[in-house]
Amino acid sequence: MRVLERLADGASCAVRIIGGLAAWSGLALVLLVAFNVLARYFLSYSSVGLQELEWHLMAVAALFGMSYGLNQGGEVRVDIFYARYGARTKAVIDLIGNGALTLVAVYVVWLSIAYVQSSYAIAEGSPDPGGLPLRYVLKAAIPAGFALLALQGLAMTLRAGCEAVDPARHRT
């Protein structure tokens, strides 16, 4: 069980480090959109590439943020009954939920590989002249984001498993 816990800690540590870095994309997004607005209005400057960069940043932040959000306890659930469960029942529910999440995340990674490949095979870029190239790199954020999600899901599954076996073990 020690080994499993250490594995869980390692996985969630990796998610925390990557997410902590990716978080700054949010500030970058604020500054970028504000720049695009103000530069257009005051300097009559506009760039198709910088406008596309807005939603590129949002996509990367959203996909890399899912695992980090869970890591930081950001999941949303209906707790009408959950709040009344005992420690072991809670652990079992978490085991089921997180196990299912891990499987779903792995499945989406697998599904999205062909999606990225077909984009890579034709070197897809923006349909707009002046837009950003390498659309497949952006699309690759789907499998990358879900791989991280699977990692986080695995960590949470292992932890819930340990708790289900030994509810006395305190939750961290």
Binding site: G19, G20, A22, A23, W24, S25, G26, L27, L29, V30, L31, V33, A34, N36, V37, Y41, E54, W55, H56, M58, A59, A61, A62, L63, G65, M66, Y68, G69, L70, Q72, G74, E75, V76, R77, V78, D79, I80, F81, Y82, A83, Y85, K90, I93, I96, G97, N98, A100, L101, V104, Y107, V108, L111, S112, A114, Y115, L138, K139, A141, I142
Partner: protein, 441 residues
């Protein structure tokens, strides 16, 4: 024949069981979507899941979400929001529910600046929930007023719902924006009346500031504090609104003026420290990701509902409705309301509306009016438990001790008020049709 018909119903049932059992929303959506989709049509259609997810995370109009969330968290972490509501509460003096009235006003203003429901609910939850609870507001009422005011953005133009409805119903976006304004203000007015009535009949739920605390400040003190802490954040909201009205920014981009302005404001107050910035960046990221996580994971569910022919259930029910336009309109309202319990509004619009529109078109019903009825109805669907987006978004930013049941209880009176608003627009179509005609849109 019977098996495929029943699958979408079973899927919805399973979703509710998992959801109420305490599995996180996003996981419930993805798991039931994949499992029932697989039973119904095999793995083939799932190849479309990545495309749907890519569509969500690259959806330009959703940009307002991370931007407004950033603004809300910056105002929260720098304590600007807390001070703002405190001073407003003080300034309201003995008036009960003063802070709630202030948040309805903020909801109207934010609604006039944005049309993305998650953005306004989350922002207002961040700003207001803490101060409300600190000041002894009833937890349910505090949640209810935030969710309801947060969804006002969907009816007060500009609004994503209205833009989509304009597309589906063949009305101009401008007509619908004009038609929605009076009903939106009407709803806000109903919320205000409700809070005032609570103040009279259930004063403990929406307490005024204690007299001894008020006594510490003179009228002049309060006026000075108002100037100091209320004016700048209000100016921020007007900056967002003004950048749209003044032609500086398109509706979606305008949110960046709010987020950027919040950084500047925190700096001006001398509170833009490295820890505050770091904390803001981190929580804004987590909060936006939570919203996107639900949206992304709902894609397999939406796909499966379609793939299983869930829209046929609605068609079959529709075929049984007795004739008459009023009957069909009422039935449409009922369907939208019921679908709102478990489907996202975009899916609802795509499933229910195309069925009804040809009939209303043929009968010569004013489509702008129908669109507003639909919009108010969809707005209500954001609030209806268990699957109301506004409820999840508020839960996502609430302290852990705020229970789902508090939120559910709190939104019920507001759902009632929404239905009153809906009935008024239904009985007096002029509420929707007068303004667009008057200004020639």
């Amino acid at each position: 024949m019977a098996i495929p018909e029943i699958l979408p119903l079973l899927m919805i049932g399973a979703f509710f069981v998992l959801l109420l059992g305490g599995i996180p929303v996003a996981i419930c959506l993805a798991v039931t979507g994949f499992v029932f989709g697989y039973i119904g049509f095999g793995p083939m259609l799932f190849n479309l899941v990545p495309a749907r997810m890519f569509g969500v995370v690259t959806n330009y109009t959703l940009l307002a979400l991370p931007l407004f969330i950033f603004m809300g968290i910056m105002l929260e972490k720098s304590k600007i929001a807390e001070q703002l509501l405190d001073v407003i509460g003080l300034a309201m003096g003995g008036l009960r529910g003063g802070m709630a009235l202030a948040i309805i006003l903020v909801g109207v203003l934010m609604g006039a600046a944005s049309g993305v429901v998650g953005a306004t609910v989350v922002t207002m939850g961040l700003i207001a929930l803490g101060p409300f609870l600190n000041r002894g507001y009833n937890r349910a009422i505090a949640s209810g007023v935030i969710c309801a005011s947060g969804t006002l953005g969907q009816i007060i133009p500009p609004s994503l719902v209205l833009i989509l409805l304009a597309d589906i119903m063949g009305e101009s976006v401008g007509t619908l924006f004009a038609a929605a304004l009076i009903p939106g203000l009407l709803l806000s007015g109903l919320f205000v009346l409700f809070i005032l009535a609570l103040g009279i009949f259930k004063p403990a739920m929406v307490p005024a500031f204690p007299p001894e605390e008020r006594a510490q400040y003179s009228g002049g003190d309060i006026a000075r504090m108002l100037l100091k802490v209320v004016v700048p954040p209000l100016a921020l909201i007007f900056l967002v609104l003004g950048s749209i009205i003044g032609g500086v920014a398109a509706p979606t981009e305008a949110a960046s003026m709010g987020a950027f302005g919040a950084i500047v404001l925190a700096a001006l107050y001398g509170r833009l420290t490295w820890p505050v910035l770091k904390d803001t960046v981190r929580s804004a990221f987590v909060t936006s990701a939570m919203v996107f996580f639900i949206l992304v994971m709902s894609q397999p569910f939406g796909l499966a509902f379609r793939g299983l022919g869930g829209e046929r259930l609605v068609q079959d029910a529709f075929a049984m409705v007795p004739g008459g336009i009023t009957g069909q309109l009422l039935f449409l309202m009922l369907i939208l309301f019921v679908l709102g319990f478990f489907l996202e509004w975009i899916e609802i619009s795509y499933i229910a509306l195309p069925l009804f529109l040809p009939i209303f078109h043929a009968a010569g019903v004013d489509m702008a009016w129908v669109a507003i009825l639909v919009a108010v109805n969809l707005q209500t669907s954001f609030l209806t438990p268990p699957f109301g987006w506004a409820l999840f978004f508020l839960k996502g930013v609430a302290p852990p001790d705020l229970k789902t049941s508090d939120i559910y209880k709190g939104v019920i009176p507001f759902i009632g008020l929404q239905l009153v608003g809906l009935a008024l627009v239904f009985l007096f179509p002029g509420l929707a049709t007068w303004l667009p005609n008057a200004i020639g849109w």
